[in-house]
Symmetry: C2
Subunit: 214 residues, 2 copies
């Protein structure tokens, strides 16, 4: 008789690793568009190319699938902020943070939308992570920014709202992609819009924060 994965103590099989990967990939497709409530196991099964009971062999509930997905995404999603370096100089740090976030919006839009969906629904599955690890990380980086302002390297500003504004402006190109394309029109809907956005946003923040160029 088959023992459900979660109850097993042994190491994971090759098949397990492969199938779980396929499932999470499919789940990302579905959850990122329709949110948790709006998605169905059948949809995910179809995208994954396997039967519904087979999915449920690897993840015992829809929630477990969503949970595993969120955990994975949340970690990589914070990578750019973690890379934000206190020892670098403000201008290059902010420029590269914006670039990295924009690259993620371009290369991992589904991850961004999954997260956005969760936020819109009031973060029922990740509120703890927000108040815990996320807040800690942001607090730490906010302190760096505050120190820069104190040293006169950048203009005085609320570091939290600064971070929010970088998050929102960059993620916008993933979450509101349809709108961006529709407004820009077909002619400007190529991937070039990310370069345009990077140019505009870097200038906005560098000048907006009063960062003196050497």
């Amino acid at each position: 008789m088959a023992i459900p994965r979660a109850a097993r103590t042994q190491r994971r099989t090759r098949i397990q690793e492969e199938k779980e990967e396929i499932i999470l990939e499919a789940a990302l497709d579905v959850f990122s568009v329709s949110g948790f409530r709006g998605s169905t196991i059948d949809q995910i099964a179809e995208v994954a190319g396997m039967s519904k009971p087979n999915l449920l062999y690897y993840f015992r509930t829809k929630e477990a699938m969503h949970r595993a997905l969120i955990d994975r995404v949340l970690f990589t999603w914070l990578e750019p902020l973690r890379a934000f370096d206190a020892n670098g100089n403000p201008e290059s740090e902010i420029r590269s943070y914006i670039r990295r976030k924009l690259e993620m919006a371009r290369d991992f839009p589904r991850e961004s939308r999954l997260f956005a969906n969760e936020m819109l629904q009031g973060a029922p599955h990740v509120e703890d992570e927000l108040r815990g690890p996320l807040k800690s990380l942001v607090d730490e980086k906010a302190e760096v920014i505050r120190a820069w302002a104190k040293a006169g390297k950048i203009a005085k500003c609320d570091p939290y709202h600064l971070i929010f504004s970088i998050w929102s402006t960059t993620q916008h190109y993933a979450d509101f992609d349809v709108q961006v394309r529709a407004v820009l029109g077909q002619e400007h809907s190529g991937e070039g819009r990310f370069e345009d956005a990077a140019r505009y946003l870097e200038k906005l923040f560098v000048d907006g924060l009063g960062i003196r160029q050497p």
Copy 2:
């Protein structure tokens, strides 16, 4: 025999106006959190305090309810952009546009989330409105901004991405409200965060766009 509303030609009854109002209010509650697919007529009926068939007497399908809601929201949601005046001076126009958008995020967060939900799902119900009326309005305002830049009143910048950045930074406080609260912590989660955001964003954009203060 009762004739479904949509097929009727006569004027709307007092009861019709009242009940449709109640239904759309309840629908906004539900749709804005769970999106179209994730919401159920039963949920809306419960919030509205009436029976499911009674809802379906006023709106023949779930889609019709969503449609009516989107139409209404889309109009009022674009009000601040419509108010954006070519004859005003750049600084005060941009300042007040930011303020108005922030006020909407504060006072009508459900409307913002309804719209965000629709975007995340790829705008299956409103893509035409995006490509039509929305694009036209943005095109018109982008021309105004371009003229300001040409006249040297503001720095040269891509007017479309400028509009995107104002949209995203302000709507963020409605759509990602949970995250904002979690990161700011209880002490800064009062309504004061909207004032802080306004102060920060106005400075960011005024300085970032190189607008000379007289």
